[in-house]
């Protein structure tokens, strides 16, 4: 576990989140409120979805929405995608929080951490149940590092 991980406050902008994700090369940012309580994750994939037409991003989240096979017929350039992003850039990350990602407790079994890391391909917040505060995060690197260490 990494204690004191990089976090973002819910009232900070999506643009800020993009900069932080890029700077720290992270897959996700834990979103916290003013008192440090954990609210959910801001995922890197969320940023990617903001570059797409809204309905396409939705179909990933809601299975019963009509699916497009692809959007290769659109001739938008990366500038157009950036323009699409600008609409959301100043919104607070609080509006884009993923709340249903798995959360670990300080006493969660190691195997659960491994399973969730495998499933989410992201990294996992560790939250204290009583206070709701973010204690740290567990990343795939933490686990793989331990594995490598035990072999060495």
């Amino acid at each position: 576990m990494t204690t004191a991980p990089v976090t973002i406050r819910r009232d900070e902008s999506v643009r800020k989140a993009l900069q932080m994700l890029l700077k720290h090369k992270l897959l996700a940012l834990p979103v916290v409120d003013e008192s440090g309580r954990y609210l959910g994750m801001f995922l890197r994939s969320r940023l990617v979805s903001l570059l797409l037409p809204r309905i396409v991003a939705l179909e990933q989240e809601i299975p019963e929405v009509g699916r497009l096979l692809e959007v290769g017929f659109m001739t938008d350039s990366i500038d157009d995608a950036q323009e699409r992003f600008q609409v959301f850039a100043d919104q607070p990350v609080g509006d884009h929080v993923q709340e249903d990602t798995p959360v670990l407790r300080p006493d969660s079994p190691v195997m659960n951490a491994v399973l969730f890391l495998y499933r989410t391909r992201s990294y996992l917040p560790v939250v204290d149940e009583a206070s709701g505060k973010l204690v740290g995060v567990v990343s795939t690197w933490d686990v793989l590092g331990k594995i490598a260490g035990s072999r060495a």
Partner: protein
């Protein structure tokens, strides 16, 4: 007599439970069917005889054909192509997509049609920076209008066609003309209400014009195969009298051939995976809803309750075909706007069949079948809960940030529906009554 009341009781309870929407309608229908057997109204054999294979076969066959065909991207191609034909003008696209929706819906299930058209519509309106509401509203109505045109376009028609034994051609000859008129009226009214005031910037329109519809086709081989099978199926429907095949067999045969073409030469595991996916896309909720409903209605029919009700209705209209026909259409329209039209039509069919002696045999009933179809299909446009396509579009729209309110929809849609049914009223009088 007591058996009759028990059966009617089960029917009413089933309908009430379906309307309450507290429990999935397929569960309700199956429980109702089971009640008919457990309470001794039907033996298991009699209950199974009530399930019309023709209806079920056609529904499943078409669902399979569509679920494979859509993988080719042909429907997206059609929607984008049509938008470019009108130089991406917002009003032109509003009209074109209504026509495309109606035509597609005449051959595909309405819900499937809107699931295919709505995502492309939302991409186009997002590019044009115009309000998507008019487009989605128009497509709801167009899907229900287009579905009325053919035997395979809408579940009520599938029910009427397969249960009464009407041919694909009879639907085309008797219903398609008036549906074309209704569609023109629909497109014009959409233009008057919204289209004529809509504008988009030149750059936005240029973006839509830059769409390359050929890129929407993801699988050219599959495209050719599925269009070939789809054409074959339509030809078989049109010539069903000569080749001696009923709709259910044609639909399933088409599905089997398309699955064969799509899987031949692939490994066993790949085939299993493929077919599991295709079967997974069959709407089993609808299928089992039909299965259960058929058994419930068979129970009521068996006790003679429907014949009794039919006699009462004929007596009430004085045995006048004109009054009965128009009565059936208007009652179907208004009821279908409020309740699910599938159970309604499923009950009306044996009821109308029982009226045959009063109207000079089965041939005398023909106008009533068209009246039932027009009323039940078009009536579904009246409110947001009138047909499943309406709710499907509203659901997608809401999540995409386009609110669809029941009253706001009904305020415009209900009067339009009444106009459409009034057109059919004149048509029925002119042609049949």
């Amino acid at each position: 007599m007591s058996a009759m009341w028990t059966a009617v009781g089960v029917l009413i309870a089933t309908y009430a439970a379906v309307m309450s929407e507290k429990i999935n309608r397929s569960i309700v229908a199956l429980l109702g069917a089971l009640m008919m057997i457990v309470l001794g109204i039907l033996s298991q054999e009699q209950a199974v005889e009530g399930i019309d294979f023709n209806t079920i076969g056609l529904l499943i066959g078409m669902m399979i054909i569509v679920s494979i065909t859509r993988k080719s991207g042909v429907f997206e191609y059609l929607a984008i192509w049509s938008a470019k034909q009108v130089k991406a003008s917002p009003a032109g696209i509003l009209a074109m997509l209504a026509v495309v929706t109606a035509v597609m819906s005449a051959f595909l299930d309405n819900v499937t049609t809107v699931l295919l058209v709505v995502p492309v519509t939302l991409i186009i309106t997002e590019q044009l920076k115009v309000n998507p509401y008019p487009y989605l509203f128009s497509q709801i109505l167009a899907s229900n209008i287009g579905g009325t045109a053919t035997l395979i376009g809408d579940p009520p028609n599938i029910l009427i066609g397969t249960q009464v034994g009407l041919s694909f051609n009879q639907f085309v000859v008797n219903l398609t003309p008036v549906i074309l008129i209704v569609l023109v009226v629909h497109v014009l009214s959409m233009h008057l209400i919204w289209g004529r005031r809509m504008t988009a910037s030149t750059e936005a329109r240029a973006k839509v014009m830059a769409f390359d519809e050929r890129r929407a086709i993801t699988d050219h081989r599959l495209l050719k195969q599925s269009l070939a099978v789809l054409s074959l199926v339509i030809v078989a429907f049109v010539s069903s009298r000569y080749i001696g095949l009923e709709a259910g067999a044609i639909g399933l045969a088409g599905a089997a051939i398309l699955m064969l073409l799509d899987n031949v030469g692939k490994s066993a595991e790949h085939q299993t995976e493929n077919i599991t996916k295709v079967f997974g896309e069959v709407e089993w909720i609808t299928i089992f809803f039909f299965v259960g409903l058929f058994m419930v209605i068979a129970g009521v029919e068996h006790t003679g309750a429907l014949r009794l009700l039919a006699d009462m209705l004929v007596e009430a209209t004085g045995g006048d075909l004109q009054i009965t026909g128009l009565g059936v259409m208007w009652a179907s329209a208004v009821l279908s706007a409020i309740v699910d039209n599938i159970p309604f039509v499923a009950t009306m069919i044996p009821l109308i069949k029982a009226m045959a002696p009063s109207f000079g045999g089965p041939d005398g009933l023909m106008p009533l079948w068209w009246a039932l179809s027009l009323g039940a299909c078009l009536g579904g446009n009246g409110t947001l809960i009138g047909a499943s396509a309406n709710l499907t579009v509203a659901g997608i729209a809401e999540r995409n940030g386009v609110p669809f309110r029941f009253l706001h929809y009904t305020k415009i849609a209900f009067p339009l529906m009444l106009i459409h049914v009034a057109i059919c009223h004149v048509y029925l009088l002119w042609r049949f009554l």
